[in-house]
């Protein structure tokens, strides 16, 4: 749990933290750069959610946050041995479990 906590983005609000504490899951956009995690669910609907899954972001897939763009958005993540850029708004729909 403590590792999970450490990898959290410090800007996450308290409510989220409380939720996180129980389940150890967060949305992908709240991960710190360098954090390793595993996809738990893709919560979105429609074309974007489908595209994310087609690109390999399916439940169980390991992901790592590589960096965020100079203006803070989009994010770059590593999934299935390649690099994928996605916006924070899209990353928000992906819930992940932190891995140590």
């Amino acid at each position: 749990m403590s590792i999970a906590y450490a990898a959290l983005n410090p800007t996450a609000n308290i409510l989220d933290r409380a939720e996180t504490f129980e389940t150890a899951t967060v949305s992908l956009d709240r991960l710190r750069v360098g954090a390793h995690a595993r996809v738990l669910a893709v919560k979105g609907e429609g074309a974007v959610a489908r595209r994310l899954m087609e690109m390999g972001v399916v439940p169980g897939a390991p992901v790592r946050v590589v960096k965020c763009a100079p203006l803070g958005d989009p994010l770059e993540v590593r999934v299935r041995n390649y690099h994928l850029a996605l916006r924070r708004s899209e990353a928000q729909t992906i819930s992940v479990v932190l891995e140590s």
């Binding site: 669910a41 893709v42 919560k43 074309a47 974007v48 959610a49 489908r50 595209r51 994310l52 899954m53 087609e54 690109m55 390999g56 399916v58 439940p59 169980g60 897939a61 590589v66 960096k67 763009a69 100079p70 203006l71 803070g72 958005d73 989009p74 770059e76 299935r80 041995n81 390649y82 690099h83 994928l84 850029a85 996605l86 916006r87 899209e90």
Partner: protein, 742 residues
């Protein structure tokens, strides 16, 4: 959601392209694969230069087809290169086209006998996703494993044979650059003809399988049909079946709100098992070369600096390096026109040939250097993997306007010339985002506007300084650039909230590993772009140029040679990049002997001249008289034409350029009928504003027509830009007069 499980045509059990039928029609092979998987390199290696590019009917997606000499004693195959795609579930028009071709639903394109799935060995799992869907089409599939050498270097050991066994199809490792594995691939394709693929290899959750079984009845075909019906967008036409499917979906949705995700997850589960069995080696977490390059290239501070440098080089190339070849083309066609005059009897036909046709063709070809250079850089940046990084860096800014990060490059190029810029919007997948980008590209102040700025500033602001050291002229030019950008941002915002309304384009963008660009691909891309431009846009430009020639030549004033022609000719031969029309570039030194006065008279007599009078009441509120009106009409050929047109009207000879003293003097001294000066500094500014915002460029119209595949958008573009330009000039002139600047 839509289905990927379709197999609308009966299963190919009899050899569709077997030896017997080889004599009747050639084998049709389709290349399908993810973007960046090395598909283009493979296509070029298999076909050489024997390929042709066209559009699929009704859309702007490119259709690439080549001839693949499979084996020396066999008839060559038709090889279709499909657009790069991640999935057969169409979210973009490219994917829709690929899906339709692969399932035999595309008009004019036969269903492929064999599908060659191009798979990047270094990125196996994600590339195999498309393969699972291809297997589900039940068409013969062969996997071409590219980047095999790179995978080996990355310490990834792929057991090709076992991979093939797990997938149920032949897998061939190929290296396009060294032409390795190409013969083996040909053999695999030939022996795959008529061989059925395993179909759906994965299973869903027990709950979902229950529903599938309920709907399927018995047999494998029933299961696939059930999967297709439940998980596709469309419902089956049969009413009873439709109801059964709807009920199944409802039950599934009740037990799992994300029920539609099951086939996607199941495919990846299956892929993971396949990869586990055939890939050995450690996928090290050691940062790759790409990651190390990206530490600089997408760095918070250095990233934008690198982007600026790259864009600087591209901009410099199309803005200034292109001028030399453009100048040569210019002079070449000028000389050709002169030669025509020298060897033909003077008359209308000669005028038409020299000033209409030859000048028109020159006006088309003069764009080629810029197009070739821009697409050289774009192909280089795409092939190396940098283009995605540029989009990654620019996305946040561009999204503010409602555009995609990829819109950045086309818009920047448009500062040199909107023609190659608009052609470069093809990298934007979403049609609405692409259209929005096309619609605002001409607001970027291109180099053809510079002669106009130069003349206006030379005539009225040359010596003026602000605070003693800031040149008013430079400040004005800067303002014109900023005006164009500002209006573009506003228009983009409006378009994206009205007729092109769409949610902000999602960004789910692969950042492919950096690779050394394949120069064959680059050359091929340049060739294709150039040819498409000449063929499609060229015909329109030529037509309009002849039309404008006629407008300024008829009716004939007297026996004089047609001087109206010279205007178009000067415009056409004058390059579009701001090389101002000079004495050498315009043809016909002997031709000008008719005298400037007669030339002026003819132009005033012509339809164009009369039109100038007709529109005078309309343009008077902008501060323009009828002579300027003729200039506005003529400059539809190309913006800088107004300079040569004014020269003729003001009797200083057509060869005057934007900084010629006689023309500047004539502009300053031009009088209205009441004796007041026709031009004032305010009129000059109003004119500049008009030129920034109006679409005074037939070539842009032609290229938009080609890129949008309709006349609707280019005409809309001309109209709305004219309205904006008129309004802005009106505000400038009337506002200026109210402030007492007139």
């Amino acid at each position: 959601m839509s289905s990927t499980l379709e197999s609308p045509s009966p299963r190919t059990t009899e050899p569709a392209g077997g030896q017997a039928e080889q004599a009747v029609r050639p084998l049709v092979v389709a290349l399908a694969g993810n973007p960046n998987a090395g598909k283009t390199s493979l296509f070029n290696a298999l076909t050489g230069l024997r390929q042709k590019v066209a559009n699929y009917p009704g859309v702007t997606v490119e259709r690439k087809e080549g001839v693949w000499a499979l084996a020396p004693d066999l008839r060559p195959a038709r090889l279709l290169d499909l657009p790069g795609l991640y999935s057969l579930d169409a979210t973009s028009i490219d994917e829709q086209i690929a899906h339709d071709v692969l399932t035999g639903r595309m008009a004019d394109t036969p269903a492929p006998d064999v599908i060659v799935a191009v798979v990047d060995a270094t990125n196996l799992e994600r590339n195999l996703y498309l393969v699972t869907q291809l297997l589900e089409t039940n068409r013969p599939v062969v996997v071409a494993l590219t980047m095999f050498d790179l995978a080996e270097r990355a310490k990834l050991e792929i057991d090709v044979k076992r991979l093939g066994e797990s997938l149920g199809v032949r897998v061939v490792a190929v290296t396009a650059r060294q032409r390795r594995g190409l013969d083996e691939l040909a053999h695999a394709v030939l022996s795959a003809v008529g061989v059925e693929t395993p179909g759906v290899c994965w299973r869903l959750s027990p709950r979902a399988e229950e529903e599938v079984l309920l709907l399927a009845g018995d047999g494998a075909a029933g299961r696939e049909a059930a999967l297709r019906d439940i998980y596709s967008d469309e419902l089956p036409p049969d009413a009873a079946r439709r109801e059964a499917v709807e009920q199944a979906r409802e039950r599934l949705a009740r037990s799992n709100p994300q029920w539609w995700q099951e086939p996607l997850t199941a495919r990846y589960r299956w892929i993971e098992r396949v990869a586990e069995g055939s890939v050995r080696g450690t996928q090290t977490e050691r940062p790759s070369t790409t990651e190390r390059i990206d530490r600089v290239v997408t760095h918070r501070l250095f990233g934008p600096v690198v982007l600026l440098l790259v864009m600087g080089v591209v901009f410099q190339a199309i803005f200034s390096w292109a001028t030399l070849p453009m100048d040569l083309i210019d002079r070449g066609f000028g000389a050709l026109a002169e030669l025509t005059r020298a060897h033909m009897p003077p008359g209308l036909l000669t005028d038409l040939l020299a000033d209409g046709v030859i000048a028109g063709v020159g006006g088309v070809l003069v764009f080629l250097p810029q197009i070739l250079l821009l697409f050289f850089f774009i192909a280089l940046l795409e092939d190396s993997g940098y283009m995605s990084r540029a989009a990654f860096l620019m996305d946040r800014l561009m999204r503010g306007v409602g555009l995609h990060g990829k819109a950045f490059m086309p818009l920047l190029s448009s500062f040199a010339c909107a023609i190659p810029g608009i052609m470069a919007t093809r990298t934007i997948e979403n049609p609405k985002d692409r259209l929005a980008t096309i619609m605002i590209a001409p607001f970027m102040s291109c180099s053809a506007r510079l002669p106009v700025y130069t003349l206006m500033i030379a005539a009225f602001f040359s010596e003026k300084k602000l605070f003693g050291f800031v040149s008013v002229g430079a400040l004005l030019i800067l303002s014109m650039y900023l005006l164009g950008i500002t209006v573009a941002i506003v228009v983009a915002w409006i378009l994206k909230h009205t007729i092109l309304k769409a949610p902000p384009p999602p960004l789910v963008l692969e950042l492919p590993p950096y690779r050394v660009p394949n120069l064959v691909n680059v050359a091929q891309a340049m060739r294709t772009r150039a040819w498409l431009f000449v063929k499609r846009a060229g015909t329109v430009i030529l037509t309009i140029s002849i039309l404008l020639w006629a407008l300024m030549t008829f009716p004939r004033a007297s026996h004089n040679p047609a001087p109206g022609a010279q205007v178009v000719a000067a415009a056409q031969t004058a390059s579009q990049t701001g090389i101002e029309p000079t004495g050498e570039t315009s043809q016909g030194a002997g031709q000008a002997q008719g005298g400037a006065g007669e030339a002026s008279e003819q132009l005033q007599q012509s339809f164009a001249g009369r039109l100038g009078h007709v529109i005078e009441p309309v343009i008077a509120p902008l501060g323009f008289d009828w002579k300027m009106g003729i200039g506005l009409i003529a400059s539809f050929a190309a913006r800088e034409t107004i300079v040569s047109t004014l020269s003729i009207i003001y009797n200083v000879g057509k060869d005057a350029d934007a900084s010629s003293p006689s023309l500047i003097e004539a502009v300053r001294n031009a009088k209205r009928p009441d004796g007041s000066p026709a031009w004032t500094p305010l009129v000059a500014v109003s004119m500049m504003v008009f030129f920034v915002l109006a679409l005074q460029c037939m070539s842009t119209v032609a290229v938009v027509r080609r890129e949008t595949n309709s006349w609707r958008w280019p005409l809309f573009m001309v109209a709305y830009m004219l309205v904006i330009a008129y309004a802005a000039s009106f505000v400038t002139y009337q506002g200026g007069r109210l402030l007492g600047l007139g």
